[in-house]
Amino acid sequence: ATVAACGDNTASTTDSSNESTSKSTPISGDFQGAGATSQQAAVEAWIAGFQGTNPNAKIAYNPTGSGAGVTTFLTGATAWAGSDKALSDDDIAKSKAVCASGQAFDVPVYISPIAIVFNLKGVSDAGKHINLDATTAAKIFDGKITTWNDPAIQDQNKDLKLPSTPITVVHRSDKSGTTQNFVSYFKDQAPDAWTYDLSENWPNEVGQGAKGTSGVISTVKQADGTIGYADFSQVGDLGTAAIKVGDSYNEISAEAGSKVIEDSKLDDTAKGENRVVVKINHATEAKGAYPIVLVSYDIVCPAYKDTKQAEFAKAWLTYVTSDEGQKAAQDAAGSAPLPSSLTSQISKSIEAIKTK
Amino acid sequence: MGQRIDVNHENIYYGDFLAVEDVNINIEANKVTAFIGPSGCGKSTVLRTLDRMHELIPGAHVEGEVLLEGKNLYDKDVDPVSVRRDVGMVFQRPNPFPTMSIRENVLAGVRLNNKHISKSDADDLVEWALRGANLWNEVKDRLDNPGIGLSGGQQQRLCIARAVAVHPQVVLMDEPCSALDPISTLAVEDLINELKDDYTIVIVTHNMQQAARIADYTAFFNLKAVGQPGHLEYFADTTTMFNNPQNAEAERYISGRFG
C-alpha cells in the first residue's frame, strides 16, 4: 500500500517498454547513492526509468562528488557510489569491513566526452570549430601559447582567420574528475608540453578557475578569447575543438567518445575481483574517435548485509548498463554508450552480486 | 500598621569607594521621616539601602545593620524580594512601564506577583490608587492608554499610584515631587499625610518647606568635602530641626533656606 507521495511527478512516464532485462519481482524500499556530479543527469534518467518497472523503489542520489561518494559508501550508508575514478587499493581494503563478504568493485556506467570549448568573436559565434593537436592544446592550457593567432594554432586552421585576441584559459577551480580525465590526455599524448603530476586539481595558475562545469561554461561565455573544457552535454552554443587523431581532426560527439573506449584495454593494475576498470587509450588512431573522455564508475559490493540492498544493487546495475539504460542516459545527459566490448565483462561482474 | 526601621553603623560602598559612613538612625513607624542635605551627600544612597535596592548596582555593598521591626534586612535568610514587597519605592524620575496601559501600570505590582484579583477589585484598586495620587480625574477616561503618553508630572503621579497600590509597610520616596507642579505636589503631600496612618514613610527632598510641612522627623546628611564619604550630620524631630537645630552645620544649611 503506497500513499501517493507529496508532490511527486508520477514516475511511470518513461516511454520505455517494460519487457526487458528486469527481474520478475519488482524491487521495493528506500535506496541511496552518492558520488560523482558528472553522472547526475544520467542518474536522474535512470531513477525515472528504474522506477518505471519498480514503482515502489524510492531512490535518491546525492551528487556530493566522487570522493565524498566513495567515503560515504565505505561507511555503509549508501547502496552504491558513483565515481569518476576507479577505487584505490586503500579503498578496496577498507571495503572489506562494509561488504558482507568479498570486497567492493567498480564497473563503468557512464562515458562522456570532454569538450574543449571556446568563445572567440568571428569563430565560435559563427558556429565554426578549431582544430587542435594534443601538444598545441597542452601548450594553450599551460599558458605557453597566449594569443589566438599564434602560428601553432593558425597553422592547423588554415581556413580560419584568427584574431590576435589574448587567450584566457578557463579551468575548474574545484577538485574534479573532469580535470583529471582531461589532463591525463595531455599527459599521455603531449608529455613534453605537460609535465605536471596527474591530479584532480588544476595544476597551474594560468588563466581563471571556476567552480563546477557550470562555472566554467558561464565564465567562457562572459568574455571574448576564452577557452576551457567541460562535459560535452554542457557545451550549448559554444565553439568546440576538433582533436587530432592520427592524421585527421575529429569533432566531438557521443559516438566518437565511445570509439576510444572500444579501442581501450582494461587496466590490469586494478587489483581485485570483478573489477572492470578502463585504461583509456589516448593514443588511439581509430577512425572518428574523439580521445578526451571521462569514464565514470558505479561502485558496489558483491554481497550486502541487507539482501534487499543486494537485490537492488544487482537490478540497478543491470538496468543502468543495459542498452535501455544507456539510451536513457544518452538522451538525458548526452553521454556515449558503453561499447559492446565491455558489456560482457560488466554483466559477469554484476552476476557476482549475491542476492541470497 | 507601618513598621519601624533602625539603621545601625551602616557604611555604604560603591566598589571600594565609601559613599556613606556610619549612619545610625531610628525611623519611627507610622511617621514621615525626611532626608535633606546637599547634592551628593548620599541621601539617595542611604534610602536605597532600606529596601536593598542598592544591590542592583554591581559592587555596591553595605556594612552594618538595617532592622525592619527588629529583623535585620541583611540577614542571610532574608529574601530581598520580600523586603521590597514590604518596602515600596518611588523614584526621582518617573518610570512607568512603557508596554503597559495606565491601568496595567497601577496593577503591575499585584499582577506581576502572579496574584489574581477580580476585575471589580482591580477597578477599585486602580481608582483608589489614582485618586490618592490625584490623577484619577485626568486619566479616568483613558485608563487603557499607554502610561508613557502622559506628561512628566502625570507620569510621576502614576508611579506613585503604582507604588501605593501594593500596600507596602514602608514607602520610600526619592524626591518624588521634583517633577511635579504645585497642585500635584499638594495632592501627593496630602496622600503622604494620609498614608502615614498605615505606613512608615521616608522621603528624600530638596525642598525644605516640604520637609517642614510633612515630616515628623528630619535627617540632615552632609559631606565634609567632595570625594569624602557623606554622613548623617544631625537627626531630630522636624520642629527642632527647623526651629532650633542643635547642630551648627544643619543650622547653616537650613538658614540658607529659600525654597
Binding site: 508520477t10 525515472a48 551528487p63 556530493t64 | 523614584f91 503591575a108
Partner: protein
C-alpha cells in the same frame, strides 16, 4: 547675603573675551557647507547601495518569474528527466525544498532561540560583567565568526559519532544552522536587553516582584519587538545557508516530511544544485517541449521563492513586533 554668594561664585574666574568665540561668517559658511556636504554624502551612500541591491532583486524577480507558477510550487523533482516536461505539464518544482527549508530552519529556531535568549539574559541580567560573562560574550563573538562550512562539518561528525556513520537527515542540518544562528540571537538580544532602561527593572523590583518575573514580564516584554527583529535577522542569516546543508541534510528529489530521517533538500541547496546542472540535454529527437535551459530557470525561480519565503517570515515578524510594540503614542 546674595551679594556675597554672587561674588564668591565668580570670584577668581577668568575674564573671558567672548568675541573670540563668536562664529565668524566663514566658519558659519563652512559649517553650513559641511552639513550640506555630509547630507549629500549620506544620500549618496544610499543611492550607491541601491544600485547593487536593486539589481540583485530585479535580476531574481525577472529571471524567477519565468518559471514561477503553481505547478512549480506543488511538485517536487521526482521523475524529472533532462529538459522534458513532467506528466503534469511542468518541469519539476520546489515543494520538497520549501518543506525542507521550513522544517530545517524551524528546527534550528527551536534550538537556538530559547538558548540564545536565555544566554543573553544571563549576560545582561545576571552576570554583571564577571569573568565568566566576559568569556562567554567574547566566545559568542568568536562563534559568530564560525564559517558555515565548519558548522556543517561539526554537525556531520557529531551525528556520525552518535548515530553511526553516514547519517544524513534534516535535523542534522538544523543543528548545523543553530550553531550559526545562536551567536546572532545572543548578540541582538543582548543589545536589546541592554537598551531596556534600568529604571524599569528598578521600578519592578521595588514593587517586590521577583527577578524572574521582572525579566520575563518587564524586561523581555519591553525588548520584545527588538528581540523578534533580532531573531528574524538570525533566521535570515541561516535560511540561505548552502554549504553546511550540502553535507548534513543532503539532497533528494522527493518530498520528505520527516526531519529526523532521510535526506532533505532546502531551497538554497536546490538553487545551487540546479545552477550546477546549468543546462539539460535535449536529444536531437526531443519534442519542442524539451527546454535545455530549464535548470537555470528553476534555479532563479527557486531563488525567487526563497526571497518570498523570507519576505513572508519578515512580515510575520513585523506583525508580531507590531502587536507587542511598546506603545508610545497617546
Amino acid at each position: 547675603m546674595a551679594e556675597e554668594t554672587k561674588k564668591k561664585n565668580l570670584d577668581g574666574a577668568p575674564v573671558i573675551d567672548f568675541d573670540k568665540f563668536r562664529p565668524t561668517r566663514s566658519s558659519e559658511q563652512y559649517r553650513k557647507g559641511k552639513d550640506i556636504f555630509m547630507s549629500g554624502l549620506i544620500a549618496l551612500a544610499f543611492v550607491i547601495a541601491c544600485i547593487p541591491l536593486v539589481s540583485v532583486l530585479w535580476t531574481t524577480i525577472v529571471n524567477g518569474f519565468k518559471r514561477l507558477n503553481l505547478n512549480f510550487l506543488t511538485y517536487n523533482m521526482t521523475g524529472v528527466v533532462g529538459g522534458n516536461p513532467t506528466p503534469s505539464g511542468g518541469y519539476g518544482g520546489v515543494l520538497h525544498a520549501i518543506i525542507g527549508t521550513l522544517e530545517i530552519t524551524g528546527g534550528a529556531m527551536l534550538i537556538s532561540i530559547p538558548i540564545g535568549i536565555m544566554c543573553a539574559v544571563y549576560l545582561v541580567e545576571y552576570a554583571h560583567g564577571g569573568k565568566l560573562a566576559m568569556t562567554v560574550s567574547l566566545l559568542v563573538d568568536v562563534m559568530s565568526g564560525i564559517p558555515s562550512i565548519v558548522a556543517g562539518l561539526f554537525a556531520f561528525s557529531m551525528f556520525t559519532i552518535v548515530f553511526g556513520p553516514g547519517t544524513i537527515n534534516g535535523f542534522e542540518g538544523s543543528v548545523a544552522l543553530s550553531l550559526l544562528m545562536l551567536p546572532t540571537v545572543v548578540k541582538s538580544c543582548e543589545e536589546m536587553l541592554k537598551i531596556v532602561p534600568n529604571d524599569l527593572r528598578e521600578a519592578s523590583l521595588a514593587l517586590g516582584v521577583t527577578k524572574q518575573r521582572t525579566i520575563t514580564k518587564i524586561v523581555l516584554r519591553t525588548a520584545l519587538p527588538g528581540i523578534v527583529s533580532g531573531c528574524i535577522l538570525a533566521i535570515a542569516r541561516v535560511i540561505g545557508e548552502t554549504a553546511p546543508l550540502l553535507m548534513t541534510a543532503g539532497y533528494i528529489a522527493s518530498t520528505n516530511f520527516n526531519l529526523f530521517a532521510g535526506q532533505m533538500t532546502t531551497l538554497p541547496v536546490y538553487v545551487y544544485q540546479e545552477y550546477s546542472k546549468l543546462s539539460a540535454n535535449c536529444p536531437a529527437n526531443a519534442t519542442a517541449a524539451c527546454v535545455p535551459t530549464i535548470p537555470m530557470e528553476r534555479a532563479w525561480a527557486a531563488a525567487l521563492v526563497l526571497i518570498v519565503v523570507v519576505l513572508v517570515l519578515n512580515l510575520i515578524g513585523r506583525l508580531v513586533a507590531k502587536i507587542f510594540a511598546v506603545k508610545t503614542e497617546r
